[in-house]
Symmetry: C2
Subunit: 203 residues, 2 copies
């Protein structure tokens, strides 16, 4: 139930889409990293003037946090559909891993992952970033663990596989994929590696 945006104040209405600007900024931070992104990069990408950008977002750091939040929201939403409860859990895990293979190939791979890059660049020196990174990894792990639990309940896991530790393994593995994929993004090998890992867990 969306309404046309109502004018509440008197003056000239905002003429740009804030969320679209956040998304464009996200792409810049994603490609360049936080420190290497300069204001002119953001102005070019968002097509905003300096004044508008600062009025809308405060400063570079705040805009970065909004971009990071958006990146996280997208990632979690994607995982929620991949690892949906109503789906076959092993199918879900395969879809989840297939997504990483895809994001790790060619140009996608070289672009890397904003979360991993941010963790390495800013974690430990920026509390706001720390909170987000930490909660994201926890959320990811919880979802994967859920899928493993359902797989175990369905008798689809190999003997001795514990859902929670399997989930931790998978989370580390996929984040490591993102690192290694920065320089060696070959789809076939990524896919084979992912398959080999999953084969160790499922019956």
């Amino acid at each position: 139930m969306h309404r046309a945006p109502v004018q509440l104040s008197r003056g000239r209405p905002r003429s740009f889409d804030t969320e679209a600007a956040v998304e464009r900024a996200m792409n810049v931070f994603w490609s360049l990293g936080y420190h290497a992104t300069a204001l002119p990069d953001l102005l070019r990408a968002t097509k905003l003037s300096r004044g508008s950008l600062y009025a809308a977002f405060g400063d570079k750091h705040s805009l970065f946090l909004r971009a990071l939040d958006r990146y996280i929201a997208i990632a979690l939403t994607r995982m929620d559909t991949e690892l949906d409860h109503r789906r076959e859990p092993v199918e879900g895990l395969r879809a989840y891993l297939a997504g990483y293979v895809d994001r790790n190939s060619g140009a996608n791979g070289r672009r890397g992952c904003l979360l991993v890059a941010t963790a390495m660049e800013l974690a430990g020196r920026d509390v706001e970033v720390d909170r987000r990174i930490d909660s994201f990894f926890k959320a990811m792990e919880a979802r994967v663990a859920g899928a493993f639990s359902r797989a175990k309940a369905a008798g689809q896991l190999a003997d001795g596989v514990e859902p929670s530790s399997a989930a931790r393994i998978l989370v580390c593995f996929v984040e490591g994929l993102r690192v290694v994929g920065k320089t060696a993004p070959t789809r076939i090998i990524s896919q084979a590696t992912v398959d080999a890992l999953l084969d160790r867990f499922i019956r």
Copy 2:
């Protein structure tokens, strides 16, 4: 067979240890990352004057490459002892992983890994860095694959485990550990996760 350093030219001899300076610079880049490291940081750490530093290393980028090379050399040397051919291969793999658990705990964990950070920050935009990262991951993978091969020959691997793909899995996993460890560095969990992964491979 080391000799006392001979004076070949006439003037005042070099009064600082170049390699020690590289190591100090390495520690700065390691803690802060490339972009976030400013010249004053390097001068403070190396206790060199601006002039001396530029005379000895050329520029920031060249010094960074030397620091990265040193980091890589240390890592490879460590791996060569951990995964030594004369050692029990599974023992070697355990030692190798134990090293990552250690480096991933507490302050070590929060400091992260210069290689991973560099891969995320610079790979794809710096050919010299690309070459080094790529060859390091290949070298690491080869050593781990060697250990897995020897383990397989000794009948110590679980059925269906292929040394080369197991090595790729392990490499991704440990690099992912470094990422996740930036914000959640708890030794017990890391160790348990590492054990759980290795258990999937050995008989």
